[in-house]
């Protein structure tokens, strides 16, 4: 049942309000109580954006987790106790079934903690039956359990009992007469008190540019956004909250590097030291990410093998987990270093010098629009050339090169997305994504099959008595990866043709007119 919530004015007199409600029927007052609520979500608010709320409710005696629909407060599922950090660790059942596809690899993190002092009363009918629950709630909010100190507006919740709608209607009317104002949800109150906005922390959110903007300013804006993504994912990466923090961090580094190298002649000469530092960042984050990918893929690896062979992969999993922990510790040390702190702060200073176009080469003062057309067009033609040259005899290296070309094209399209009509650009990005998936899978299977052999060698070095069954199971896995690599290879021609469809080619060739059209409409 959906509750109706009201904010109490700061000087509200609870006794007077209760007295007014007593006119609707007998009121049964319950002992005062305390409740701690912890609202959980992923770093990028996946549950919030899926109209969901996951909240752990703790009284001094027990805890339970409830999953509610955010808009209606309807209960979707409940679980005794607190909930695990990852959806895959939740006991099998409806809660896990529905959370897993939403959260994927993302961890559940506390987004707001609320301590409430509750005064409850029940409105009774003439049989003594409860027909409505009234709850006065006052309290504080905090970002973490240890810092719950921001005061929240006091609220009155009217929770109806199924089958007794009249009691709710009368109570809502009365709340209106008492001049109580309809309240936003408790989470909204808490986030407002914490000055914590709900943002979809996405590396993909396009940065807003205009065609006339100077190239220098456009580049700075894109790089500022990438720097922001690095900064916001840094703490989560160091703490290894989930693998996505590092992934997003790395993507932002890669995008930054791509922009620095592809547009090198538009930057001041001072940029070269940053280029080296970002290269270093790419290198130090690589090994942990590789191990993360193995661990994320592990359930899929198991599915590749027969039931009887699966248990024999356990030593591989333990080895990967230990290596990941080791690499993660090393990574956290590097990310906590003075070198990174200095890099991020100097990089910020460099990007903030809005009026320093004078320090930039002459070319960077020209508008970004035509340059974006040319650069995307050039990258596109390169993909077309390389893709058309690939046939059944091409070596894997040729597909790898094409994968890199596609990635560059994709970055350019996403950097300059706001200059073009969203519908057409969306279509082209989608078409490219399809091809990238094929090339990405091909590359992943190739690299993983190769690296698994190396991992196997390392495992045997550490433990010369490694069971033969484990070696056989890893061998079978490598074989399956080869088979899947071949399947992707066979699919390539079809996926490339789909990307190179005449309609897409036309769109790519008319980028400048598309951009002009967008400018006219806006």
């Amino acid at each position: 049942m959906q509750s109706r919530d009201f904010h109490l004015p700061p000087d509200a007199d609870r006794k007077r309000i209760l007295k007014a409600f007593a006119a609707l029927g007998a009121l049964h007052l319950e002992p005062e109580s305390r409740l701690r609520l912890t609202f959980l979500d992923s770093f990028d608010w996946r549950l919030y954006h899926a109209d969901s709320l996951l909240v752990v409710e703790q009284t001094p005696y027990q805890a339970r987790t409830r999953w509610l629909r955010r808009s209606s407060a309807e209960l979707i599922a409940a679980l005794p106790g607190a909930v695990a950090r990852f959806a895959c660790q939740i006991p099998a059942g409806p809660l896990r079934d529905r959370l897993e596809p939403l959260l994927e690899m993302r961890a559940l993190l506390p987004m707001a903690c609320v301590d409430l002092h509750l005064t409850r009363a029940r409105l009774l009918d003439k049989r003594g039956k409860t027909v409505l629950h009234l709850t006065f709630a006052s309290g504080q909010a905090g970002k973490k359990e240890e810092t719950v100190d921001r005061p929240l507006p006091e609220r009155l919740q009217l929770l109806p009992v199924k089958g007794y709608p009249k009691a709710l209607h009368r109570s809502v009317d009365l709340a209106g007469q008492l001049q109580l104002l309809p309240a936003t949800t408790l989470l909204e109150d808490a986030l407002a008190a914490l000055e914590r906005p709900v943002v979809r922390q996405s590396r993909k959110a396009p940065v807003t540019l205009t065609s006339e903007m100077s190239t220098a300013e456009a580049l700075r804006r894109i790089l500022r956004q990438q720097r922001q993504v690095m900064e916001s994912n840094l703490a989560g990466t160091c703490a290894d909250l989930d693998s996505e923090f590092l992934h997003d961090f790395r993507v932002a580094v890669r995008r930054t590097r791509t922009l620095l190298s592809r547009f090198s002649r538009f930057f001041p000469a001072t940029i070269s030291r940053f280029r080296n530092d970002f290269k270093w960042l790419g290198q130090i984050t690589g090994p942990t990410r590789d191990l993360d990918v193995y661990l994320l893929n592990f359930p899929a690896y198991l599915e590749q093998l027969a039931d009887t062979a699966r248990p024999h992969l356990a030593p591989l999993k333990t080895f990967l987990e230990n290596s990941q922990r080791q690499e993660q510790r090393r990574l956290a040390r590097c990310l906590g270093s003075q070198r990174l702190k200095r890099l991020l702060s100097e990089w910020q200073t460099f990007l903030q010098t809005d009026n320093a176009d004078a320090d930039w080469p002459e070319a960077a003062r020209k508008p970004i629009g035509p340059l974006a057309d040319r650069r995307i067009g050039k990258a596109f033609r390169r993909v077309m050339r390389a893709g058309a040259a690939i046939d059944g005899n091409s070596p894997p290296a040729a597909l790898h090169e094409l994968r890199i070309d596609c990635k560059r094209l994709r970055y350019l399209m996403e950097f300059f997305q706001s200059l073009y009509p969203p519908k057409e650009m969306g279509r082209l990005i989608k078409a490219l994504k399809g091809l990238q998936e094929n090339l990405g899978n091909f590359n992943d299977f190739t690299v993983q099959a190769e690296q698994l052999q190396e991992i196997c060698r390392q495992m045997r070095q550490k433990n010369p008595e490694l069971a033969a069954e484990t070696l056989i199971a890893i061998g079978m896995l490598i074989d399956r990866l080869h088979q899947r690599q071949q399947t992707e290879r066979r699919r390539f021609a079809k996926d490339f043709d789909r990307f190179a469809a005449p309609r897409n080619l036309r769109l790519f060739r008319s980028l400048s007119s598309l951009r002009a059209g967008k400018e006219e409409t806006s």
Partner: protein
């Protein structure tokens, strides 16, 4: 969803107390639970302080004129709802008899509620009638309270025979001793000897206790006012045993 019916051919054996107390325990663990009071006496409805009335009576209910969901009332307890009794249920047999496939009617009515509730308890009137047969078709298991007396055991045997005659093998029979007074020699003797005769008999016994009778004074389930009492704890053990037997605790 699991449909559990508290049933005995004989009256006054603790059917309603069982339905109300077990439903309360199920709801307390966070599982959405419904009690359908099918007994025109409306004892379960009385315990939950709800008006024993449904709009249009049993005729409107069976005709589908009233959606079951609109007749459901929330109780004073979280996750626990009630479909109240109505005096017209005394003619439910006749109403069922008027319809095609009378024994399938209750199952059909319950269908729309499957998604909303984890447990549905049917509190049945005593006797063996068309209503009982419809309950047997709708339920996954029958919880059969038996007082350790000769007559009670006779009715249990009648029920077992009826089940095999009607080929209701799908229906799980879960008899258990209720209102056991260990001061009485006959109760002691039957409770000790009977498990060998009836293999499906549950091990938990509900003692005869004034706390159970006081449910009528409090108008609430036992665990809400005397959860640590002897019968209160016995109902908890019974619920755990039933969940094990029905494969619910996996």
């Amino acid at each position: 969803m699991t449909v559990l019916a508290t049933y005995n051919i004989k009256g006054g054996v603790g059917k309603t107390a069982t339905a109300v107390n077990l439903a309360y325990l199920a709801a307390r663990s966070g599982q959405p639970t419904l009690v359908w009071d099918l007994d025109p006496q409306g004892a379960a409805t009385f315990y939950f302080r709800v008006k024993p009335k449904i709009k249009g009576g049993s005729k409107a209910l069976l005709d589908g004129k009233q959606e079951l969901d609109s007749l459901i009332r929330g109780t004073d307890f979280e996750h626990l709802d009630l479909l109240p009794a109505d005096f017209s249920y005394r003619h439910l047999d006749l109403r069922l008899d008027d319809r095609k496939h009378p024994t399938r009617q209750l199952r059909k009515l319950l269908k729309p509620l499957l998604a909303s509730y984890r447990y549905i308890f049917l509190d049945c009137p005593p006797s063996i009638s068309l209503v009982s047969e419809a309950v047997f078709t709708a339920a996954d298991a029958l919880l059969v309270p038996i007082i350790p007396t000769t007559l009670s055991l006779r009715t249990l045997q009648q029920l077992i025979d009826f089940r095999s005659r009607q080929q209701l093998d799908r229906l799980q029979l879960l008899p258990f001793f209720s209102m056991v007074d260990r001061r009485k020699a006959l109760h002691r003797q039957l409770v000790d000897e009977l498990p060998e005769q009836f293999r499906d008999l549950l091990r938990t016994e509900i003692p005869y206790a004034s706390d159970v009778e006081r449910m009528g004074v409090h108008r609430a389930p036992l665990a809400s006012f005397a959860g640590r009492s002897r019968p209160g704890l016995a109902y908890e053990t019974l619920w755990e045993e039933i969940r094990r037997k029905t494969g619910e605790d996996v």
